[in-house]
């Protein structure tokens, strides 16, 4: 089932949680709502579920306006960050809850419920835990049970609010992969909220980036990572090096240094911020060279195949820190040492005009 939200606005006192949000969630996709905490992503999810009421705007489920439909009639499955399992019920009773609460006419027989519960528990690979109580389960198991419980009422959409937020790193990774696999089997329209960019990029078909109650960018993980539309998106998806400067023809002047750029539509003299990812910077040790930014090596961390070099800016960019990712071999070839003065040359540079312009 498709979900659309149109011009959603939500205010909490003086705080604008959502500012005129319009989004399309096509049928069968797994979409991530990604953003820092307080960006409004959870509020949007709760409005779609009906647990929160928007001040203005519409939620369309399957093209029908659901704004006045009660939560229990929306047929959504909701998974909470802290599981929200019923503590006093066994795993079996938790999963069976939705079916048992149905009006007498629609309620399946106990035998049917039992079959369905076991089918769902098998789906989440926890059939052997049916008689346990939630307190006897690990965090990862609990979240899988919560998912089985949400699926028991055959929801038309699945909404997950930071589903892995309360779990430790290893379990998170496992469950991520598992959720993706489950979605590929069920093809149920799903939205999940996360503040973890790695999680969003790894699991989702599409990513919606949000900040301060606004949508910053929508796209496939590849698109948003490779072609960030705004400085916020660039900064949020992975680590970055940042240069403040002024456009000077074909290059950006940063203090006394210059960086070549490939962006064509920049006005001469415009104040800009330029971004480069750590792996998009190379180190030049030639003292005669004038290209790139002057920096001094602070620390070299070379554990694996790639080495991370941390540098401090000198000349025009004093006080700034840079991070470069190159192969370990290259560190050895260049003979880099702590305290050495080098120049940083970006192989790829993304330039944004300052002051709100999103170019």
């Amino acid at each position: 089932m498709s979900i659309q939200v149109k011009n959603i606005h939500k205010q909490f006192g003086d705080f604008t949680a959502l500012d005129d949000i319009s989004l399309d969630f096509p049928s069968g996709e797994l979409v991530a709502l990604l953003g820092p905490s307080g960006c409004g992503k959870t509020t949007l999810l709760r409005i779609i579920a009906g647990l929160e009421q928007a001040d203005a705007g519409q939620v369309l489920l399957d093209g029908e306006d659901a704004s006045s439909t009660h939560v229990r009639e929306r047929q959504v499955g909701f998974v909470f960050q802290h599981y929200a399992l019923f503590k006093h019920m066994t795993v079996f009773d938790n999963v069976a809850f939705g079916m048992r609460m149905k009006p007498r006419g629609q309620r399946p027989s106990e035998a049917k419920i039992r079959d369905k519960v076991h089918e769902l528990l098998k789906l989440v690979q926890l059939d052997w835990l049916a008689d346990r109580f939630p307190s006897q389960l690990s965090g990862g198991q609990r979240q899988r049970i919560a998912l089985a419980r949400a699926l028991a009422v055959e929801p038309r959409v699945l909404l997950l609010d930071e589903p892995f937020g309360a779990l430790d790193a290893k379990v998170r990774k496992e469950l991520r992969r598992w959720l993706r696999k489950l979605h590929d089997e069920l093809h149920i329209t799903s939205i999940f909220v996360t503040h973890d960019q790695e999680e969003a990029l790894e699991v989702a078909d599409r990513v919606v980036l949000m900040d301060h109650g606004k949508v910053e960018q929508i796209g496939t993980p590849e698109e948003v990572y490779r072609h960030p539309a705004t400085p916020f998106v660039y900064g949020f998806l992975g680590s970055v090096n940042l240069f403040h400067g002024r456009v000077d023809g074909e290059s950006v002047r940063v203090g006394d240094d210059t960086l070549a750029h490939q962006t064509s539509d920049l006005a001469h003299g415009a104040e800009v911020v330029a971004f480069a990812r750590p792996h998009e910077l190379d180190i030049d040790t030639d003292p005669a060279s004038t290209a790139g930014i002057a920096a001094r090596i602070n620390r070299i961390l070379a554990f694996g195949v790639t080495a991370r070099v941390e540098l401090d800016g000198i000349n025009g960019s004093t006080g700034q820190h840079f991070e470069v990712e190159i192969t370990r071999q290259r560190v050895l070839d260049l003979g880099l040492t702590d305290g050495q003065d080098v120049r940083l040359v970006p192989s790829r540079l993304k330039v944004f005009e300052k002051d709100g312009a999103t170019g």
């Binding site: 579920a49 939560v71 229990r72 929200a84 399992l85 019923f86 503590k87 609460m101 949400a150």
Partner: protein, 299 residues
């Protein structure tokens, strides 16, 4: 008050503290503190309790039993049970409704409501009784209207029930509010999303989560309802065989120098208190257990 869940948690820690030489106090300090505490306990708590039973049985079993089966005593027992039987269910409903509203919803005047719920605790019971006399008494606001329609509230059973309901009002709400606030709304939201109706959510999710706290509140309410003296004394009028509750009956007997009978009836109230304590302990134990499970499931 809000303690059913906070006890029984520190005992492991305490014994560990004691068993280690590094953290142990000197014997002198230890025994002084113990002696003080136990001495206080013996003089102020244990001695009166023993005195009640000793005095009650001083003139033998026959006097004891005859004091209890006296028609006036029996009618006092009946009235006390009736007052409790009405005020406990009433305050159960009020308390759950008030706690639910305060813990789960945001609305204007919430703080005022919380303060109002506490009013019966902060007002002297005598004043509480007087208020009802002033409202429903012969010279009170509704006095003329009530006497026209031949309805008696003050100096009659309805007045006693009203006063009892008033003084026991805060117990259940006060016990449930922190408990429900700590539990939050998530489980209920989960139930609603799964299609449960309001009543189903309450019955299947909310109630099981608060049952031990609720039980604790009911026990306290019941104990207070049966033992209340001040407020009831003002509205009762002390009509023997009609508007005397157990505590009032004890006072009358005592004032008439029938000490053995007074203590006999008092021993009934003391027994009730002991039974209440036993049940209360058991409930606390259960509550602590379910609280621990909650903690585990939250971690």
């Amino acid at each position: 008050m809000a303690g059913a869940t906070s006890m029984h948690l520190g005992s492991d820690h305490a014994s560990r503290f004691e068993s280690k030489a590094a953290t142990r106090e000197t014997p002198l300090v230890k025994w002084t503190i113990l002696a003080l505490a136990l001495g206080f306990f013996a003089i102020f708590l244990l001695m009166p309790l023993i005195a009640v039973f000793v005095e009650a049985l001083r003139k033998g079993w026959e006097t004891y039993v005859s004091a209890l089966v006296d028609p006036d005593a029996l009618s006092a027992i009946k009235l006390t049970l009736l007052a409790a039987a009405i005020s406990v269910p009433l305050n159960l409903v009020f308390g759950v409704a008030a706690a639910w509203a305060i813990a789960k919803f945001e609305f204007r005047g919430k703080q005022i409501l919380i303060t109002l719920i506490d009013l019966p605790f902060s007002v002297s019971p005598v004043i509480a009784g007087l208020v009802f006399v002033l409202i429903f008494g012969a010279q009170g606001w509704f006095g003329p209207w009530l006497s026209e329609h031949d309805i008696k509230i003050v100096f009659a059973v309805p007045g006693i029930v009203l006063a009892t309901v008033f003084v026991t009002f805060p117990f259940i709400a006060r016990e449930l509010i922190p408990l429900m606030q700590a539990q939050g709304r998530e489980e209920e939201e989960a139930a609603v999303v799964l299609g449960a109706r309001g009543w189903q959510v309450f019955w299947h999710v909310t109630l099981p989560n608060i049952k031990w706290g609720l039980m604790y509140g009911v026990i306290l309410t019941n104990a207070r309802a049966m033992g209340e003296f001040g407020a009831v004394s003002v509205v009762s009028g002390h009509i023997r065989g009609q508007t005397n509750t157990l505590p009032l009956h004890v006072e009358i007997l005592y004032n008439e120098y029938m000490f053995s009978a007074a203590f006999a009836v008092a021993s009934l109230l003391a027994l009730l208190a002991l039974v209440t304590l036993v049940i209360k302990n058991w409930v606390e134990h259960q509550a602590a257990r379910s609280y621990r499970e909650t903690q585990e499931s939250a971690s």
